[in-house]
Amino acid sequence: MTATVLSAAATGAFTGGAASVTLVVTGGLLVACGVYQLLAQSLTRLVLGLIMTGNGLNVLILAAGGLGPADVLTQAMILTAIVITLGMAAYLLALAYRNWQLNGDDLVQDDVEDRRIARAAHREDLSGELRTQRAAYRADRRAALDASWVRKQELREALREARRELRGRARLQRAIAARAEDYEYLEEETESDTDFEPRPTHRGGAT
């Protein structure tokens, strides 16, 4: 902003010469310092910033109008602006004094709503932390569960393996037993051949 004011003031300073350059540089410096002060939190500094910026701008108006005695308009405008800045400065000083009476300092305080939002943000941070912790806990728990699940699966697998083995063994035993029965039967049969009549087919075949 200052740069624009400066360049415009420089183009408008039609008398030229060293005097108007001095004016423009002075005005620019005052505005720059004033704006820096305006960024402060203390009301007294703000008053200083207001006065410096105001005066800097007045000097720039003067530079804009040129230095000739003919331009009454700039002087009228500057006088008006000076009066306004003075009134504002007086009012702000009174305000700073009242603030000092009430709070013991002259700082512009944070807004209540801002503080409410800050509190909400703090709460949000806390709950965010809680959320991450809960997430970590859940992850742990899930990991533990997973581990136990794997273990369970292993056990189940082992059980199934054991069952399968048992079943296999049982089948084997049954097979052995069946075969043993077969042998017994065969033995019985071979033994009984001598005791019983030959079967009709055998017999028929024989005749």
């Binding site: 004011v5 305006l38 720039l60 108006i61 602006a81 504002m88 009242r98 305080q109 807004d111 209540v112």
Partner: protein, 543 residues
């Protein structure tokens, strides 16, 4: 007839002088003077508006100095309309404030704040009138300063902790934007050698485009701060709710509209060809959407209304951004509707505070049953603000929607969507208040208990603090003593404003025709420029 033009500025200032001569004692005489002066103001403004409509812009060169040097006061249709509405609104709010004061008088005997209140209020009225009448950039600056300095006093009146805290922010933002305004004037004067608006319009067209752009952007920034357009609106919802109810009402109704007036006036008159439409489109849409989202999140009626104010300023900027006759006409119609409606909503909030001691609708409940009058007084302007069909808010928004559709550009359609969303969310915010404060069973709210337990961050203990945000305070800064009755003046002033907004609905046709003519006049700056320049000739011939 032209001799009437300076009176809306002069009469209140004379009255202030007389008041200071009388001193704080004779309150009845003082009341009489204030009411008489503002009534006269209203009548004069209406006469001026009608005259400007019939015979073209009225121009007065103060002290018969020729225009580029002297001070021009100009009334055209636009400024006449704004002048008339603002005088009527200031009159109603004055009656309201008088009535509130006389109701508070017994317990609130702090004489000093009240002795300051009325003169300052009249200075505010004079400043507003001067801003509307100003025919040159520097006089506009002076008008702004008169208005703003008065508003600083009204904002911090009573000197309570909350008002000082929020007032400091308000004052610094105001002062910083005023400094930017001076910078803009300096650049304009350096480039063109004049600050007279009509002369500047001619000279700026010939000036270097870069300088013209710098002046334009600076002016847009300055007026956007005053009008509370979105990126520059953060100060408004913080500062307005702490001021006394009538002060908040008149600020909300008028101060931002003075900013909008200056924005429209400077853009249409000084920069008729390069409007920065995209910039204005963007800020208008953002104002509407972000403002109303802020409103939806609020728990306090005053804060909620302040956010809707930011949001609805977007509608007015939108009219300027589209820039057609129809759009500007819609914006003007919406401006007068919004001034009236927003002011009456804040006045109703004041009445609610008087009854319940708070405007926090978490604590309010059952007002529809306990105070049906308040229900009616809230409901009509709330529905008007949301744009429900028969009311004038709907008609103005419809005009803006039609203008956006007729424009047909991408930006216009985006804005059309933003407008509809905003209206819907406004309706949501208004019905939310209605459901909480009015429709709940009595006693369902948190009651009048002002103490809350709050765990402060960084401390381990639980602090019981007195919430000051929802605390209703009178003009003198003392806490309002609640009562179930309504002072007749407060009720009457609020009802009068609501009737005025209903009158816009009934006489929508003639008003729309008037705003059409005013918009056409705005879009053809030559009539304004010619009027000022011929007035130069007349003044020169007279002497």
């Amino acid at each position: 007839m032209k001799s009437l033009v300076p009176l809306p500025v002069l009469l209140p200032l004379f009255a202030v002088g007389i008041k200071f001569l009388l001193g704080p004692r004779r309150l009845r005489v003082q009341t009489l003077i204030s009411v008489t002066v503002l009534t006269a103001d209203t009548v004069i403004s209406v006469v001026l508006m009608v005259q400007a409509d019939r015979h073209g812009p009225l121009v007065v060169q103060v002290g018969s100095f020729a225009a580029p040097l002297g001070i021009s006061l100009v009334v055209d249709r636009f400024s006449g309309l704004m002048l008339a509405i603002s005088s009527a609104v200031t009159l109603c709010v004055l009656v309201y404030a008088q009535s509130q004061r006389s109701a508070d008088e017994n317990e609130d005997e702090a004489g000093a704040p009240l002795a300051i209140f009325y003169p300052t209020y009249l200075v505010l009225a004079a400043g507003i009138a001067d801003s509307f009448l100003a025919g040159d950039l520097f006089n506009l600056y002076v008008g702004f300063e008169v208005m703003l300095t008065a508003s600083y006093v009204l904002m911090t009146i009573g000197g309570t902790d909350a008002r000082i805290r929020h007032g400091a922010v308000y004052i610094m933002v105001g002062a910083a934007s005023s400094l930017l305004f001076v910078a803009a004037i300096a650049i304009a004067y350096a480039a063109c050698g004049t600050v007279n608006l009509a002369d500047l319009a001619v000279q700026l067209a010939k000036a270097d485009p870069a300088v013209r752009l710098a002046v334009q952007l600076l002016l847009i920034t300055v007026f956007s701060v005053k009008a509370a357009v979105f990126p520059l609106s953060a100060w408004l919802p913080d500062s307005y709710p702490t001021a006394p109810a009538p002060v908040t009402a008149v600020f909300a109704g008028l101060l931002t509209k003075v900013g909008v007036y200056s924005l429209i006036r400077s853009q249409t008159l000084l920069f008729p060809h390069d409007r920065q439409s995209w910039l204005l489109y963007t800020v208008a849409a953002l104002s509407m959407i972000i403002g109303i989202l802020g409103a939806v999140a609020q728990a306090d009626l005053k804060r909620l209304l302040s956010f809707t104010l930011v949001s609805h300023v977007g509608f007015l900027v939108l009219g300027l951004a589209i820039g057609s006759t129809r759009a500007l006409s819609g914006a003007l119609f919406y401006a007068i509707t919004h001034i009236t409606v927003q002011t009456s909503l804040f006045l109703v909030t004041g009445l609610i505070e008087r009854r319940e001691g708070t405007a926090d609708f978490g604590r309010l409940a059952g007002l529809a049953r306990l105070a049906p009058v308040l229900g009616l007084l809230y409901f009509i302007p709330a529905m008007n603000l949301a744009g429900i069909p028969p009311l004038s808010g709907f008609l103005a928004k419809l005009a803006l929607l039609q203008a956006a559709a007729a424009d047909g550009g991408v930006g216009a359609y985006i804005l059309l969507g933003a407008m509809l969303t905003t209206s819907l969310l406004t309706l949501y915010a208004m019905t939310k208040v209605w459901a909480r404060a009015f429709w709940r069973a009595p006693g369902e709210g948190l009651g009048k208990d002002r103490e809350r337990q709050i765990v402060l961050p960084g401390s381990s203990g639980v602090a019981v603090i007195r919430s000051t945000v929802g605390d209703a305070r009178g003009i003198g800064g003392r806490r309002i003593s609640t009562s179930e009755g309504y002072p007749a003046g407060m009720l009457g002033a609020t009802a009068a404003l609501i009737l005025l907004s209903l009158a816009y609905t009934v006489w929508a046709g003639p008003i729309a025709e008037f705003t059409q003519r005013a918009a056409a006049e705005l879009l053809d700056p030559n009539s304004y420029i010619n009027a000022v320049q011929t007035a130069v000739g007349a003044a020169g011939g007279g002497h």
